[in-house]
């Protein structure tokens, strides 16, 4: 089989909203050759293509200061506040761009954009599901971006410490692809462990793992405001939680009680997604599961809005018999997903990573850069695209190390030669069994996490190296499975390292510790060892700071108030 070599000024890895914006903006900033590579199809893969119809965008007429404060607080004060400011300033411009590309945001009869409640106080725009990324895909082509679809990137190419492109293979015919690039932007999303709901089982953290191998610093996921999401439990239906609660959907526990007001009296069902998931976990832990989403009281107008914004999820609800005509006919059992693992690359305000020549945006950048959600991923892509184009103009001609390419090529195809190896499915299931239980990464305890780490280390040592593939489709699945295992290790180890409750809850450390833990956790692979270190959040130059040095996590406080837990010797004990 022959190799296919591409040369470009800017290489963008990923066909979601972050990558597509980065590619478009790199072209607009003067990069002559921009190439976007995607293991699926640009605009038809990743989370962006299946996002739940809600585009959270602050407008200049909104109370931006209040939003700024909320965003910092919801991110547990770990967010890069200069980046939060950039996002607030850019988001409405990004929205204008999107409309010029043909994204149809829902409008009122008067023609004015319709803004609807989603999570928190912010109002968002609605769009018709897949239309958004279809318009983005076309805009990228119209701007002269070259798209290479069905090519999975597996490694970065480096020369004298600089990233000079990437390598990968065509998942259909197996051809080896070499991408020689002046600068590379990683936008391959995060890892969602192939969990619920449909439409995101292709994001497995491959890019992060490849960057870690190339020497990049990656960061912990704690600062992500929503560690999980929640969806229909036993059917493949989704997404839409924000949209459903925005239209009046209510979460109920197994006794038919509304419970969100106990945990977030102000925002109730419209609390941020992460808070909702934690509250569900606490209800289940108290024996009040399972959890239901009740939309039976929604009127046809509200259901109509849901149908418009979520055509695929609505069709799924209809097929399963939950949605008949314009009524939801019964409460639907819901479940939280496996944790989102936004183990992303450490980046600066311009989305430059710790490796020269490599930028990262969207969900493959660290959570503190505030890159999750369509709006945030979009503004991060814009900034990264502009900055990377400048880097490419100033950096010299990239040099490829032939010996490195040969070695990567050799290693890549090994699973195809293996006989009697391990099935990708086996590794996927093994990893899911470790990370999915809500008592591991949502409601945490050091002892449970240590056990989970031992299990993941065992998978990494004894299963991942033996993965086998029958053809190039399975080769992709094998790489995805081993990426998932590595991401689980990174996520669990950083979670264990953080001895406090900040965004997630720890039973053994129930307090939020603003004296010792206003820190980011950085990880770097050094040979066999994962080196974990911390970096102070530069609070001194930030606008918003936590008010108290230490306090019981608000959700533990709520649980204590209702008598579900007691704090004894500094730890949680269940009533």
């Amino acid at each position: 089989m022959s190799d296919v070599t591409h040369e470009t000024d800017v290489l963008v890895i990923g066909g979601g909203i972050a990558g597509t914006f980065a590619a478009i903006k790199a072209r607009e900033s003067g990069a002559k050759r921009v190439l976007q590579v995607c293991k699926g199809n640009v605009g038809k893969s990743g989370c962006s293509a299946f996002a739940a119809g809600f585009f959270n965008v602050p407008l200049p007429t909104d109370d931006l200061d209040a939003m700024f404060k909320d965003m910092v607080r919801d991110g547990g004060y770990l967010r890069m506040q200069d980046r939060v400011q950039d996002h607030l300033e850019q988001a409405h411009l990004v929205m204008q761009d999107m409309m010029s590309y043909g994204v149809d945001f829902v409008r009122k009869d008067s023609g004015e954009l319709e803004r609807v409640p989603g999570w928190t106080r912010d109002l968002g725009l609605m769009f018709n599901g897949p239309n958004l990324m279809e318009a983005m895909r076309k805009a990228s082509l119209e701007k002269g971006v070259e798209q290479v679809n069905r090519a999975m990137v597996t490694d970065f190419l480096t020369h004298d410490g600089r990233v000079v492109g990437a390598a990968g293979f065509d998942v259909m015919n197996g051809e080896f692809h070499i991408f020689k690039a002046g600068v590379t932007i990683l936008a391959s999303g995060m890892c969602r462990y192939k969990s619920l709901p449909p439409g995101q089982r292709d994001t497995t953290g491959d890019g992060t793992v490849a960057a870690l191998r190339a020497g990049a610093t990656v960061c912990d996921t704690e600062s992500d405001f929503s560690l999980n999401n929640a969806f229909v439990a036993h059917w493949d239906i989704g997404p839409g939680m924000n949209m459903y609660v925005g239209q009046g959907g209510r979460l109920l526990n197994g006794r038919g009680e509304r419970f969100m007001e106990k945990y977030d009296p102000v925002r109730k069902d419209r609390a941020i997604a992460g808070m909702r998931c934690l509250a569900m976990g606490l209800e289940v832990r108290q024996g009040k599961g399972p959890i239901y989403m009740d939309m039976t009281h929604l009127d046809p107008e509200q259901v109509g809005r849901i149908k418009k914004a979520l055509p695929l999820a609505s069709l799924m609800h209809q097929r399963a018999g939950f949605l008949v005509g314009d009524r939801f006919v019964k409460p639907i059992e819901w479940m939280i997903t496996a944790p989102h693992a936004q183990v992303g690359l450490a980046v600066d305000r311009r989305f430059q990573s710790s490796l020269p020549g490599l930028f990262a945006c969207g969900e493959s950048a660290a959570a503190q850069a505030m890159t999750k959600s369509l709006g945030c991923a979009a503004t991060s892509g814009v900034t990264a695209g502009v900055a990377a184009a400048r880097y490419a103009q100033e950096a010299g001609e990239p040099q490829i190390d032939r010996a490195q390419v040969a070695e990567l090529r050799e290693r890549l195809y090994q699973p195809l030669q293996r006989k009697d190896g391990i099935e990708p499915d086996q590794v996927v299931l093994a990893v899911q069994e470790v990370v999915a239980p809500y008592t591991v990464l949502l409601i945490r305890h050091g002892e449970r996490m240590k056990k989970a780490i031992a299990e993941v280390e065992d998978i990494l040592k004894n299963q991942a190296p033996l993965l086998q593939a029958y053809d190039h489709h399975y080769l992709r699945m094998a790489i995805e499975a081993s990426s998932m295992a590595k991401i689980a290790e990174l996520q669990l180890k950083s979670a264990l390292f953080r001895t406090e409750s900040r965004v997630a809850l720890r039973e053994d450390y129930p307090y939020t510790d603003n004296v010792n833990w206003l820190k980011w956790i950085n990880m770097k692979q050094e040979g066999e060892n994962l080196k974990i270190s911390t970096e102070d959040v530069p609070m001194g130059r930030y606008r918003f700071r936590p008010e108290r040095p230490e306090h019981l996590h608000p959700l533990w406080q709520a649980a204590e108030n209702i008598g579900a837990i007691k704090i004894e010797k500094g730890a949680v004990s269940w009533a």
Binding site: G40, N41, K44, S45, G46, A49, F50, P130, N149, R150, V171, M172, K194, S195, L196, P198, G199, Q200, R201, D202, N228, A233, W235, D236, I237, G281, V284, G289, P290, P311, L312, L315, M316, R319, A320, M335, I336, T337, A338, D425, L429, Q432, E433, A436, P437, Y438, L442, H473, R476, M477
Partner: protein, 72 residues
């Protein structure tokens, strides 16, 4: 289950679904010029193929093809 049926009476072999499937589940049979389900277990049930097929030849159903360990 996800993708459940491809109606070969209707399929004209345009390959749009093959191109768009994020999980690479569908393939073209070059002999018959029809699409078939090659990697069912990897289907993520996203309904994209059904939505995009210009001939309405594809039918999906929202039941999981593989067991997914749940949170509780």
């Amino acid at each position: 289950m996800g993708v459940r049926r491809i109606d070969w009476e209707l399929c004209d072999g345009c390959e749009i679904c093959v191109d768009y499937c994020p999980m690479d589940v569908l393939r073209m049979d070059r002999e018959t010029n029809k699409v078939y389900i090659k990697y069912l277990r990897d289907c993520q049930g996203c309904f994209l193929c059904e939505r995009e097929c210009p001939q309405d030849a594809i039918y999906c159903f929202p039941v999981r093809e593989r067991r997914i360990p749940l949170a509780w």
